[in-house]
Structures are given as C-alpha cells and as structure tokens.
C-alpha cells in the first residue's frame, strides 16, 4: 500500500516535470513570437541550414594546402603525409622546382574524401606546415564518388 502511494507520487512528479518544461518553453516561444528578446530560448534546436553552430578552433574539416608569399604551394612533396595517412587517401605528385632553395613542389595534391577519416595525422606530420584542416567546410557530400576526390593544389 505504501509502495503504491510512492509510485503514484513519483508518477505525478514525472508528469509535473514534463508539464513544467512544456509551459516554460511555451512561454519563451510566445515571447519570441511577439518579438520580445530573451536570453534563454524555448528550444535548444539549431535550425541547421539557416543557422550554423560555431565550430571549435580545433575542429578538423576539409583540408587546404597553404601557399608561400609568391603564390606557389608551400608543400615540398616530402611525402610524409602520404606515408602517415592511415586510410591512404592522400596522393601527391612531386615535380622539380626551378628555385634551388625549394627543389621540389607538389604538382598534384589530391585528397580522396571517400577514404579520409579526418584523423589529422597529415597536419601533424607536415614539416613545413603546408597542410591544414581548418577550412570550416563540413558540408562534404556528393552524388557521385568522383565528387569527393578533391584536388587541393588549385
């Protein structure tokens, strides 16, 4: 008998909690409808395509290859990133550079996002800080596989 009273009490408490959430959120929704700005919002939802969540500075998104001041790619085609990549998604083609200081540069630098696991090892491995994953581009989708093979040296 005592137990059923306790159960009933807890059931009512549960209902009160959801009802409270409903009324509090509804109040904030109504305020918003009438153009009153409040610090708290009625919902935690982010309406994705229109609203974007701010990405953390450490967020690993689409790769980019940095260039020198004269516009040439900074990559010296040392192949460290290709070696370290666990999913073998990078392919770099080296070419000889006219500048004797540089010697080599990447003629082709392609990332295959079908394979990439966004581990960021390539960024860590690079000795000349030529590749970074800080573009903030996360809408990486394509209707065909070829669309996800992205040349980065352009």
């Amino acid at each position: 008998m005592m137990k059923s009273w306790r159960v009933l009490k807890e059931l009512l408490r549960g209902g009160a909690i959801t009802a409270r959430h409903f009324f509090v959120n509804m109040a904030f929704h109504t305020l918003k409808l009438f153009g009153v700005r409040t610090k708290r919002k009625g919902a935690v939802t982010i309406q994705y395509p229109e609203e974007r969540k701010e990405l953390s500075p450490r967020h690993r998104s689409l790769h980019r290859v940095l260039s020198r001041e004269d516009g040439k790619p900074r990559c010296v085609a040392c192949m460290l990133c290709v070696t370290v990549c666990p999913s073998e998604c990078l392919s770099v083609e080296a070419a000889e550079d006219d500048d004797p200081e540089v010697q080599k540069y990447a003629a082709r630098f392609v990332v295959d996002l079908n394979r990439c696991c966004f581990c960021g090892f390539c960024v860590e491995a690079c000795p000349v800080d030529a590749i970074r994953m800080d573009t903030g581009e996360i809408r990486l989708a394509a209707t065909a596989r070829a669309g996800l093979t992205i040349p980065l040296d352009k």
Binding site: S4, G14, G15, T18, H21, F22, N25, M26, A43
Partner: protein, 359 residues
C-alpha cells in the same frame, strides 16, 4: 420530412468534418507538444509557397504522402480481411462521435435542433458497444496479416482491451447511479445543477474515484504509449506490421480519433459537457450574487466553446501522458487492470451506493 433529413445530414457532415480535422491536427499537436516538452522545436518545415505557419501544413503533407504510397498486401496475407481490419477500426471509432452532444439544443426558425447527431436513449451503452467492436479491427488485422509479430500484437491488444473494458464499464456504473440516465444529453443537463450552492454539479466532484478509473481505463483503450502493448514499437511492431500507406494511416488516425473520443467522453460524463459554470439560459448567475445577461446566441457559442476547450485540455493531457511515461510490462499491465482498476471500480460502486442510500 425533407428538412429533417437535411438537418441530420448537415449534422453528420459537420460532426465528422470537425472530428477528422481535430484528429488531423492532433498529429501536429502531438509532434509539436512532445517537441516543446523535450526542449525541441518539432516539425516546422512543411510550407505552402514559403508560408510555414509553425508547420501547420505538416498533417496535409503526411496525408498526401500516405495517399500516394503503394497499397501493398503481402502475398501470404488475406486480402479482404487485410482491407477490412483498418476500415472496421476506423468506422467504429468515428461512428461513436454521433452520440456526443456538442452543445445545448438550439431554436432555429421555430425548430428545436440538438447540437448532436442522434440523441440515443442508451447512448452510453452505444458508446461502450462501439468501443468493444473496435477490438475486432485489431484482432482481424493480426489474423489477416499471417505474421507472427502481428498476431502477437493483436492478441495482446485484444486481451488488454477486453480487460480494461471491464474497468471502464464498472467506472461508469457509479456515474449512472448519480445521474440516473443513459442519455448523454440528459447526463450533461444534470451536471448543470449546483452542489452546495456554488460548485457546478459535475461528475468529477460526485465521482472522483470513478473518473480516475474511467480515465486510466480509457487511456488503455486508446492503446497509446503507457499502454501500447498491441503495438510495442520497440519490440514487436504489433498489428501494424504488414500495413503501409493509407491502411496504416487509417490505423494511426483511429488512434488519434480514440484520443479525441476519450476526451469528449471524459468531458461529457465528468466535466459537465457543454456546461459553462454558472451560465444558465439567461446568462451568468454567480454564487456570490450578481448577474450577467448574455444573449441566447452568445450562450450557445459559449457552450460549444466550453465543450471544445475541455476536449482540447484532455487531448493535451493525453499527449502529455503519452510523452512522459514509459511502457508497462505485460504482466504489470494485466495486474494494473485486474488488481487495481477493477477493484477500485467495485469500491466506487459500493461507496456510491452507500452514500446514496444514507442520504
């Protein structure tokens, strides 16, 4: 004669349209209310020419989707029964609404027009009978599907609904003892009187225990979440398993209709139906003294409005319950029905009888 037929026709069409519209938008309410309860926003993308209106067009989008889906019947199912089951479920739930009075009778062009399709003298029994017939839809759907999950779901459903119908019937006996009529319009009229001179003589004040048993058993009859053994969407899909498109839509619509029906019945039987507290035919007569004249047409409008508001409240409450509580275990469900609700119903009858006899 012709005019009478016309009036009934208009009443049927209006009642059905109103109920179906309510059920249609209850799907929207359910989505939105559950979202707001869970700090979400809910369906808000459906739009017509860029007009979103809080996703109010979502039910229409859903309906169009269901209409254009393939009417699929598995090769091992029985075609006729497979079609019959959702139709029966839907029909017996929808037809129950004819007995519910939406308002007091109106005088129009010297005619007395009740705001109710048929004023049956045994309306309460009619409602219970139709609720019982609704079980056949579930049973047949499970049997016709020839699918084990569907069969388990339908048998569970039949067992649950029959068990809770006992409690539902018992809870109403006390009410009939207090308001000695089976005519729903008479029951509502009885509730227009006053208790101790200030409290409206609503069923809830005379039969609090009866209402609790009625509402809980009614929740089980709607077979929605705390009592959704027939469906049990996380374990067996239940009697819906082999249904898709419009037939599944009919089953789902029946669920929402049952929610509205339970709300309408709870309102009619226990919350004064269309009665507005202290509002008579001439206007308000407040218990603390003081009158407020109200025109006859305004009285009717207020009464219909009051009925609908009460129904909305119960729909809201049921959605709240559906999104708050987890599902019963099957043995707990049966225990609750037979060991709690049925004894409480009997206790209610005895207590009511004692009080009536002592008076």
């Amino acid at each position: 004669m012709l005019v009478d037929v016309l009036i009934v026709l208009v009443q049927v069409v209006l009642t059905l349209t109103w109920t179906l519209l309510l059920a249609l938008f209850l799907t929207w309410v359910e989505r939105k209310q559950s979202a707001v309860m869970q700090d979400r926003i809910g369906a808000n993308r459906a739009s017509i020419f860029g007009l979103r209106l809080f996703g109010l067009f979502q039910p229409f989008a859903d309906a169009i989707k269901m209409l254009f889906k393939e009417d699929f019947v598995p090769s091992f199912s029985q075609r006729f029964l497979h079609w019959l089951a959702p139709t029966m479920s839907f029909f017996f739930t929808a037809v129950t609404m004819v007995a519910v009075p939406f308002g007091d009778a109106v005088r129009l062009f010297g005619r007395r027009i009740p705001l109710q399709v048929v004023d049956l003298n045994a309306a309460l029994l009619f409602v219970l009978a139709m609720l019982s017939l609704g079980i056949y839809g579930i049973l047949i759907s499970g049997w016709a599907s020839s699918n084990r999950f569907a069969l388990i779901g339908s048998l569970r459903g039949a067992a649950q609904l029959i068990s809770y119908e006992v409690a539902l019937g018992l809870s109403l006996v006390g009410l009939i003892m207090v308001f000695p009529s089976l005519r729903l319009s008479r029951i509502v009229e009885f509730q227009g009187a006053m208790l101790f001179g200030f409290l409206p003589k609503w069923g809830i004040f005379l039969q609090p225990l009866g209402f609790a048993v009625f509402f809980l058993a009614g929740l089980a009859e709607t077979k929605r979440v705390p009592f959704d053994m027939p469906e049990g969407e996380s374990e067996i899909i239940g009697f819906y398993t082999e249904y898709g498109g419009l037939k599944f839509g009919l089953f789902m619509f029946t669920d929402f209709l049952e929610v509205i029906l339970l709300s309408a019945l709870a309102t009619t039987l226990f919350f004064g139906g269309w009665q507005v507290p202290w509002l008579g035919a001439g206007g308000f007569v407040f218990p603390w003294g003081g009158n407020l004249k109200v025109a006859p047409w305004a009285v009717t409008v207020l009464q219909v409005l009051a009925f609908n508001l009460k129904v909305f409240f119960f729909c809201w409450l049921q959605v709240l319950i559906r999104w708050t509580y987890p599902r019963f275990r099957y043995d707990q469900l049966m225990d609750f029905g037979w060991k709690v609700l049925v004894p409480l119903g009997v206790v209610n009858i005895l207590a009511t009888g004692l009080i009536l006899a002592a008076r």
